[in-house]
């Protein structure tokens, strides 16, 4: 590998780390949205029961 390719690799690794972190946070956000929806459904069910 040339010196320039090593530099590209180093900066690329940082970019990939940040993108993986964003993907993990996005997955968590989807889960939180689903759980919030379930709880809202539960609250609506309780309100209609009571």
């Amino acid at each position: 590998m040339s010196q320039g390719e090593y530099v590209a690799l180093a900066y690329g690794v940082v970019l990939v780390f940040v993108l993986v972190w964003v993907a993990i946070i996005a997955t968590k956000l989807v889960r939180l949205e689903r759980e919030t929806g379930e709880l809202a459904e539960l609250a609506r069910g309780r309100r209609s029961d009571g």
């Binding site: 180093a10 940082v14 759980e35 919030t36 709880l39």
Partner: protein
Amino acid sequence: MSSRNNLPLLAFLTAGLLGLGVVLAFVVAPEDADQGISQKIFYFHVPIALTAYACFGLGAWKALRLLWVGGERRDLESYTWIHQGTIFGALTLITGSIWARASWGVWWSWGSNQLVLFLVLVLFYCAYFMLRFSVDEGARRERICAVYALFGVALIPVSFFAIRLASDFIHPTVFTRSGPQMTHTMFTAFLVCWAALTLLAYVMYRVELVGKRTDAHLRELREALT
């Protein structure tokens, strides 16, 4: 503007500073006479390492505050800072390893104290997560994790000064008592990259903290509703 809603602004500022840092490092700063283009790794590698130290230090500070004045939120804050520190620590090792390969012809040198000490620091904090997830949630876990985080901070000055005290001189020392050993444009590029990566760590910390707190609130809500 409250601290809660300035997160998008900080995220945009981080993106802008990162872009500016890359432009300054690759377009404005001159190529190093000794190392050539491989020296460009310096502009991200050193700020990432300094950010990792800062994250571990802040994790320990939050742990100290937890032991001192208590508060469940400080446990979460300490944990989140240490998580950021581990991410940036791993990035330091990877970018450093690539730079070592480009400059010295090897991916790693076990004979270099500063490299091994930084690895020990990162592994120490990796073990923090094993400890954290092996103890049941509660006040006991908060105290154990806080004490562990505080012990780890002692490794930071050892790791930091090892670069200056090392006898092998393989790892370059750019900042000496007579100031930074680089041109003004190189130093400006370094400072911008350092600010950008520190801000990136802070934004990541805040986003993770919001996620973890929302998670905890949802758990409480679920318990209350079922």
